[in-house]
Amino acid sequence: MSFRSSGEPRPRLLSEEFLLLRDVIYEHAGLSFDGDAMFLFDRRLGERVEALGLRSFNDYYKYIRFNARGPVELEEAIERLTTKETYFFRQEYQLRAFASELLPRLALQNADSKRLCVWSAGCSTGEEAYTLAMLVRDSGLFEDWEVRIIGSDICKTSVATARRGVYQASSFRVTPDIMRSRYFREETSGTHVVDRVKQMCHFGQLNLLDAGRASMVGRVDVVFCRNVLIYFDLRSRRRVIDTLLERLLPGGYLLLGHSESLLNLSTAFELVHLREDLVYRKPLTTERWDSGARK
């Protein structure tokens, strides 16, 4: 029987079990958790230990490693550990820079193709992707254009939430009233993103370390990857940045979280000083001196 005679309501995570679980998650998804995350593991994965009727986190580790359903459970564990709290119009200064400086530049840059693609990499439950869609729409610069806002996240349930586009009060802590009245409608089930914005957005599940699957995103003009790199260690961050670079069109922009930078990660981006923000740009250089050497 699986009940514990110790009288503890549920098993507690021991430090060695934490390190073992941390290793397996790193190995699978490149996600890096520091010692502070032990509490998060205990709380979020303790639920799984209980639900599976296991006696300890060590049993849970072995379940992940050896059980036929281990790979599925590993995905579940990652989902439970990475769900981010987010909300519409987060980090307003950066969004202002996007709307007032980057969008006009892109409107000129892509005037011939009339195509714009923005990728919210690590979109969590979709608030950022929808915010970007609203800003693009509000700019009035892209009427009759083919506009695609792509949202991706490693967490399946977050992606499902994003697709639904129905949110509760906590997602609206800084949403301007005018945007709320323009792009949302209230229903008993929650606050719904209006269809004309939803239609611009496309969501998918993606591990940013999986460069092969990332290629499904296509080429994009802007990548928002805010507060995502913090989950990766240096080595994995470099791989993620390489993937983002690969997906960006020449002259495309990369926006990171306010405490993140490419220092010691990549030299492949130029730094662009906007009025309100610093962003990165993939160089426009088209002709490579070493094209022969690389073939």
Binding site: M38, A51, R288, A293
Partner: protein
Amino acid sequence: MRRAEEIAAAFASEDPEQRRRAVESLRELENEIDAPARYVLQALGDDDWRVRKQAIEVAVAFAPAQDLLTGLVAALKPGDNVGLRNAAVEALGAYGQAAVDALAHELPKLDADGRKLAAEALARTALPSALEVLRPLLSDHDSNVRAAALDAIATVGAAAAADAFDILSRFLQNPGEEAFVRLCALDGINRLGSLLPWPAIEAMLEDPVLERSALSAAGRSAHPEALPALLGAFERARGGGVAAVLAALVDYCRAFAQNHLLLRAEPASRAVVARLLALALPSNEDIVSRKAALTVAGALGLEQIAPIAAEALSDGRMLAEADESLSLLGSRAVPALLERAGRADPDTCAACIEIVTGLADTQSGPLAVQEIRRWLGTASPVVVRAALGAITLFGDESCFATVSAWLGNEETASAAETALAALAQRYPESAQKLARSAHTEGEQAHAAAVIQTALHAPIRDSVADDVAYLSVLLSNPAKAVRRAALAGLGNAGSELGADAAAFALTDEEPEVRHAAVLALSRLRTPDGVLPGLPKLLELVEKSDDQELVSAALGALGEAGDGRVLAVLRPLVRNAPPMVAVAAIEALARVPDARRVDALIEGLSHGEPEVVKASMLALGDTIDPRVLAHLGACLDHSAWDVRRLSADMLGRAGGESAVLLLRARLAAEDNPRVLEAINRALDAGSGMRHTPLPPRAGSLRPR
């Protein structure tokens, strides 16, 4: 030749992106061009930072190329190109002992700027051998060089903490030294996490140059007089000073919490309270200060923090500090937690219930349970499991029916069984009555089986009656009931259940078969013989079902019978990983000294998981061979084996372990393993006194 021309042309380009790519390509073209080092050195002095950064990466990749090393050291000599000198410092760090030797040789020839840069480069090597090269720089006539040397000693000190602390603390006591140089020494001590005596810290608080770093030292001191100083500084702090004092306060609070002390005797001023509460609000985008404010406010016993902390439980980033804050507040946090639980998403609601359960005592617990029970009807499984956890600790006799109702739900059955068993042990008479009146169908049957597992047999008139009842349950259509019945049979401990348990090995459900295996390991004849043992050994020998074999091995280990050693040992080296791990865990429980040899054999298994299991099993063994074998695992091809080896050596401690770890430090390139080695060296040195961040269950002032 053509390559060299192409490279030269690209290096002459006005477009920095062309130059950067040319540098990037040097790694691929290393063997196609003459003297690639000259291009790297040229690029290290480029005008554009991206080209210099790229060149550093290439220089590091070329380590330990002698011509490049010579050029890098030469770059520290007097010159106008500051970018080149800084880039050389960064690259030299990757050249390890070769850089230490080269810099030791060249130091006398360098000017003051060069010596300062050399100290920085030595710091980047992170080698203890750099200490001896740095020591003479402490008497350099140039104060900037002395400061850089102190800073470097603190950095290198991670690998030689005792030596570094000795050097830095003696330097700090030199009153004739310039204040900013003493500041470097103090910062170094803070970085090492070492403790200074309170009088020394107190004196430095008066010095405007040293004050901020002295506050950081005060935070770790846990001295009673440090708190007023810290709170006063927090109230006065402006700009970046706020975060610094707050971090010191967090250290202080955690040092107290680790000793199960509370800070509530120290009243905080209104300004301090207002500032802490404002910083803890979700509108504060600075996560670090928000977390710190939660911890400090909880430790100071500010009740106003309870609803803010309860709100923060839904944010994964804040979870640990929110829990810490609420736990430090104690029972005064309960109303806010119950209010939050009533309107929260399932995960947050479950977290609230768990924290309430952890905070409650025998008086407040039952009241909280009453409140929590009201939500159970409509709650999600996550919430139900948390609520059942509360009942496990504080439920009363009236909870039997509530708990039994959740036995039939697969997602809550395990938590309900735990709660029911706890209730049965607290109220055995009621439980016995319930079990005796139970039918052989439905939730009552399940409850009866759980009760028979939790209480001493017999529950009915005789053990034979108990076994007869449970044997009937083995035909119950619900697999959870059959599983519970087998657990009950095992608890009855009589050989009377052996045949029924053995037949249950044919059950179609794996979990029932596993329960049968466990039951067989627990049955005993009156003279202590294990009637199920032959069956279990046969299973290990003949079954192809790896999960079942693993369960049988676990049961054999639990039986603690020395005869199983011969069965387990051959499995350790060659069995499939799942079985080998189970055999190792079983071996660890066998009371026979020969098990150590068998466990050491497990270290040779081809699968890293088996090696790790062997290491963990050996970890608690007192045997002189173990340390050497754990040390050998530092060279294993799998990084996670090396990581575990480092952590286990750190835990073992002692001079031999430290030597093994230091030896590996120079050769290791995996960041996870390097982190573990440094962690282990910290643990081995016994110098670190910086309080730990929150850990599950470690900070509860219960």
